[in-house]
Symmetry: C2
């Protein structure tokens, strides 16, 4: 009943078989202290024969750490969150940490609760919370530490790994302006989105600096459908170029434009944001501001690890999106040729 191989071998089984105490087995298994060579040998072979592996749960209890972190995302189906998740998972795995996923299913109201809950089961948390209000976030963060943020600009007191959305949209604007576009539309993200507000700032600043340039803001959203639905409005706007909140929206818009027989980029140029893997494969391939979400995930992990190790985390990451020029943008059509 005890040394049966039916149940998993325990440390006492190994100890008995190696004729040593559990303490010694523990020491050997963890490479601690110095144990006589022959005992090490005995323990190791006993452990091997029994297929012994220490119970992670028991270790967690006594050690006070689980070697696990959680990542909360609003929607696992969105490639940009998914890439961050993937980046974190791989980086953490390389350091022997596992990751727990928490999907808030786009319901911002239950994100704080979910985050707290997720946090209780592990050692640290990565929060992808682009929509949570600053106030709520500030209230939540202390209860979550150690924690790092992504998909949201720098926040006091919390290591962050994010992109310069403001600079990214400005770069896109430069690109478009360079092609002769003067009347643009921006397909806006959700008003509550922090990164959307950064884009708005970037647009405002750019317009202020460049007389003769106008950017209409069209309420839109974050997905294909919304981009598709905005097709009509974009056409009516008379703009020669449209900047979508993200690549998904851009793809929806591309579809709508194609169906309506509007040539891209000859009649209207379209840009996305994020440079998800799919962006390269649209027709025409999408010009977009590349945000290396995988790297952001990796950087988020570096900061978390520092926090876990009691070290000072590296300074915030703020990657500057680079414009990936592809075929969805081109010279502005002649004025009044709409």
């Amino acid at each position: 009943m005890r040394s049966r191989t039916s149940a998993r071998a325990q440390i006492t089984d190994v100890a008995a078989r190696a004729r040593v105490s559990p303490a010694t087995v523990s020491r050997v298994m963890n490479g601690h202290a110095s144990v006589a060579a022959d005992l090490v040998e005995r323990v190791l072979s006993a452990a091997d024969e029994l297929g012994y592996r220490a119970s992670p749960v028991a270790r967690s209890l006594v050690l006070g750490r689980t070697q696990t972190i959680a990542v909360m995302v609003p929607d696992m189906a969105n490639p940009s969150f998914q890439e961050v998740l993937r980046g974190i998972t791989r980086a953490a795995a390389a350091d022997g940490y596992r990751v727990l996923v928490a999907d808030s299913q786009e319901d911002v109201t239950q994100e704080p609760g979910l985050a707290r809950e997720a946090r209780r089961h592990c050692d640290a948390l990565v929060l992808c919370a682009p929509r949570m209000s600053d106030a709520e976030l500030a209230a939540l963060v202390p209860a979550l530490a150690p924690v790092v943020l992504t998909h949201r600009g720098p926040t006091p007191g919390v290591p962050t790994s994010s992109a310069d959305y403001r600079g990214g949209i400005a770069a896109l604007l430069d690109h478009l302006a360079g092609l002769g576009h003067r009347r643009l539309v921006y397909l806006a993200g959700p008003p509550s989105s922090a990164s959307h507000r950064r884009r708005l700032e970037g647009i405002a600043a750019h317009v202020a600096d460049h007389p003769g340039l106008s950017v209409d803001v069209l309420p839109c959203g974050v997905g294909f459908e919304e981009g598709y639905a905005a097709g009509e409005a974009v056409r009516r706007s008379g703009a020669t170029a449209a900047l979508a909140f993200n690549d998904l929206v851009a793809m929806g818009l591309l579809s709508a434009l194609h169906e309506a027989g509007v040539a891209v980029p000859e009649e209207v140029s379209v840009t996305g944001f994020d440079d998800i893997p799919f962006a390269r494969w649209t027709t025409p391939p999408l010009t977009t501001a590349a945000v290396p979400h995988g790297d952001l995930g990796q950087e988020a992990w570096r900061r978390l690890r520092a926090l876990l190790d009691g070290e000072e985390p590296p300074p915030d990451v703020l990657v500057h999106p680079e414009v990936q020029v592809r075929a969805s943008t081109g010279p502005a059509r002649a004025e009044g040729a709409a």
Copy 2:
């Protein structure tokens, strides 16, 4: 040092504050046995004041279960795995289970080790292992139980939640044949892929049943790049329609064809497989065999839950992909008009 709010409140703190024993606190918190109403009240308010929540790790140790499952996927970036993961995560969350992700990074050789490792940290496992050999799988499964499989046909002794790839490709073939296509090409997945072999079977059976129909098999792969690279071969093949291993490959092919000036579907029809969300938004929108991966994930969870509850799991799921007819397929061009 003890009742300080610095550290998390423990069960003894609550017990002390409510002037009862830890046993009673435990009973109240878990709604066990009958406890006098006034004690319940005292315990509840004490717990509330202290913000007490039982340590999941300690509970796991004594209860012998973690309320966590793991999901192993070959690549989190692939939408079809990602959808399954998402489906499982949501379904499991609804039942109070958390999910741990294990990403094998497409390295089949380390999947067995990774699966075992992941399994040790939780109560059960979902294996998305389309490429692992049957032999390896059979050897691995006993060590992993409870476990359920997805992305792979029914396997003896293991509950499975998968799609009828064979039937799916046949349905696509029917659709194409109905449009007058006689010379087709199949852009093959990796030879080690179980679902690829099912497709091959489906093709062979269909060809045998329909004289005059020919399907060339072109080695290809699973991603955009491979589909793109196959563009040239598809054109040279003289086929009037191409069936891609999955939607990603189809998108790559669509790009290549577009660049080469080949009209889709006028000159060549293209089909995908999976019906990932992006398929609706390609240009032209992709005709594909729809596999409801989210539902598959949910069904995988149902089986796992039954296993966890010591019940008999529901019979294997084998969803029959439905052809989503969109604009990438059309009547075959006239013979010899290539």
